[in-house]
Amino acid sequence: MSTSRESRSNRIFRRLLRVFPFEFRRDYGEEMELVFREQCDEAARAGRCAGWLDLWWETLAGILRTAPREHAEMLRQDLGYAVRALRGNLGFTAVAVLSLALGIGANSAIFSLVHGVLLRPLPYPEPDRLVRIWAARGQLGSSPATSLHDFEDWRAQSTVFESMAVYAPRYGNLTRDALPRRISYALASADFFTVVGLGPARGRTPTAAEDQPGNDSVAVVSHRFWQRELGGRGDVVGTTVTLDGRPLEVVGVMPPGFDFPPGAGTELWKPLGMRAEDSGDRGGRWIPALARLRPGVSRTTAQAEMTAIARRLAEAHPATNTGWGAALRPLHEEVVGDTRPALLMLWAAVGLVLLIVCANLANLLLARGTARRQEIALRAVLGAGRWRLVRQLLSESLLLALAGGIAGLGLARLLLALLPALAGGRVPLLDRVGLEPAVLVFTLALALVTGILFGLLPAVRCSRSDLATALKEGDARGLVPRAHGRVRAALVVAEVALSVVVLVAAGLLLRSLADLIRVDPGFSARGVLSLTVAPPWGFDYTGVEPEEFVRRMMADRARTAVFYRELLERIAALPGVAAAGAVNRQPLEGPWWGNYFVVEQRPVPSPGEEMHALARVVTPGYFTTLGIPLVAGRLLRSADDAGAPRVVVINQAMARTFWSDADPLGQRIDLQDYPGPPAWATVVGIVGDVRYAGLQTTPMPACYWTFPQGRSGHFDDWGMRLLVRAEGDPLPLIAAVRREVAALDPGLPVYGVRRMDEVLAGAAGPERFRTVLLGGFAALALVLTAVGVYGVTAYTVALRTHEMGVRVALGAPRARLVGLVVGQGMALVGGGALVGLILALGLSHFLASLVYGVGATDPWTFVAVGLVLLAATLAACILPARRAARVDPILALRRE
């Protein structure tokens, strides 16, 4: 038994020796085995179990102490060797570190973006349990909002949510020391802070009793609001702020950094203070809903329950709920929007650029390894095993990669500093993007992987040198294994293929952006200024019946109509103003607001088949100010006021969609914005289509109403966009317009001041953002590829100097030599381009979702990419080719 234990112990010990470096095992392994065997003999003679335990304990402790130290010593030697080798060739080192810095830095920057926007959880407790509830309507589209009626039924019938709330972002006028300021605030139901999962740093949140009509004059403020507006005073709870003319008691202050949703900039939360029965018709879907799933409940389970509840509501309320379901969307997805595919595409693109960098460096290292064959052979003769040589060469690559990674972090920081300007406010959660610890860890890991990726193959190949030949011959040329040339050629083909993919993606985005910029928005933006004013409603609407609400609202509207008429008359009379008008939602601001309508003498559409159009409340000067053409009939006039017959102007899209075989002029429609008998309006004009929803969205049916005749569409938080067309530069008119507003209402803030041409340019902001970034990466990929092609072509020319000399000596025209070299280089490029083309076509499905107006397999883009690649790589081939043509045959032959 003792003998079997000894042999088992020896076998185990032999295996344990593998933790030591190879060289240590080679020098002392057999001795150590012998010593251990003798120790086993001693333990066997002693015959005590404790003796064996002591032996193994000491042996393992000794191995754990000594093996890491030996590895560290090897690493120190390898790194010292690597530093000396790199210092001896500073030119190569600089080029390599620069290439790596560009590749790794770009990756770090984009990963920062991906991490901050897509990967980092939202700053709320258990954010994956937070969902938005949309009112879903299948192919007819969904609404991000619901009605209070539906929300209360959902809340009463569902069992899958821990808490539910409604939440309506709004804007209001904060009055303080007679200086009005527009702020972003939110109406939120009592459970809102429970759903979000965060409480105030000071004070409390509103109670359920305060979320009732008449009791809701309380507010919770943000930390920033407390500091800026309330002086950061310690006794802030109980102070009063005035919002839209209403005093609100501050009951709580949220912690620093709290915002909902992230990036919204909300400064104040007040109770909704509204019951379902006070909020209008069940079909009026106007307020977003939010919920927190119960622990352990999956979204699938919750969705199934909500679908069943929605079905029951449709059966109970067919007029308003037929065809309407409820769709749950994770809050993070809502916040991120449609930036995910674009960010992932950018990340993939920089990944490809880094692979091109790796291929380039692998080529450079192979060439450098060739030049160092003698040195490597000498080391092998002096006792360095093959894997030691591989490790030493790999250490150089890792050192280069780490240096490139550190430099790359600097580049990443620079790129991140430029991001906000590039993004133009269109990328969500950008304030969370930075060089976080996760990004630093990613950069370090990427540097290590990159070093192995571009260093391993050259290290393995170069360590396989023919020692005797390498030591005998001093000149490496002509002695390089043919396999090296094949490997280098394969790397160039791979580079070109990857470069083609990145260039095609950038080319498609560039064409898409060009098409988008050329889209006719339907209006003339040049020289037009946009400013917003939002006079608060001058009546109390809490707790009133719908008919009484409409009556009070129309009376107040008449007062406000006078305000807007006077204001626009004063503005139009200003020097330098060519035209002035107003609209509730200006072009490119989004599809909201719209409504169903019916046409007189047509059957009322059944539920689920209603006719819908955008609705815009305008002043008569709106069309002229924005240059919207009149197609038929007439425009709205000042005479179309509250007492005159109701009229409406529609756009061409509405005419095409709902009067495809008839003339809409003279027809009467009723915009079903309030309950009660229809308020028919006659279609008196057709105007050109305007893109309200965005440049990429086909113009939607839209109808226009004068302010006095419109029964809705003007809310105290929206206000109206004043549009002023200047005879020259519009910017100097800003101060003058502000004065005119102040002259009529000194406490009314003017905000949202922008030039309409900036609004138009900003509409393509997200597309411009990703096109600029991807274009930059594609340019980098092209330069790197051209450098790679140049390198391998120059290398081939150097190898074939003797052959060139013979050819010239035998009378070959020098032009033929150029053709030979260029032909070989371009053959590689052609092969790589073909592979790249196939890859790009394979990715076309993904790219299609990111481009506008152009197919992902657009042939012109592929042709343009081919031409650009051809030009760059041809230039890279011609330089060494011309050198080949200048070879002196006598010198070339003498050298051999």
Partner: protein, 126 residues
Amino acid sequence: MSERTSPPKSPQSYLPLTPPLFHVLMALADGDKHGYAIMKDVKQRTDGEVRLSAGTLYGIIKRLVASGMIRELDPPPGMTRDDARRRRSYHLEPLGREVARAEAERLERMLSIARAKNLFIRPEPA
């Protein structure tokens, strides 16, 4: 085979020595030994207090050879190369002897200080 890789330094520059390393030098002070013999010598002299495992011993031997304090001996005539590798003996070089002496003197000085501080006098029980 390991060989000396670092230039010679003064004996003082190697101090203080770790106890295992000091014991290995002392084991070789009275004659050449192979690895197992060094291990046994240290264990016996210290009554089992200092016990060197194979890993610890050969880590020390490698460092001592590289610094020139000990030297691997050529195998005796007639021994096969494999046996010679397994039964390699080590010889204490003059540098190693100087370093061991310097360490011993350092320890002696510390002992003198401890005696001067009456560290070895136990107080009388109250």
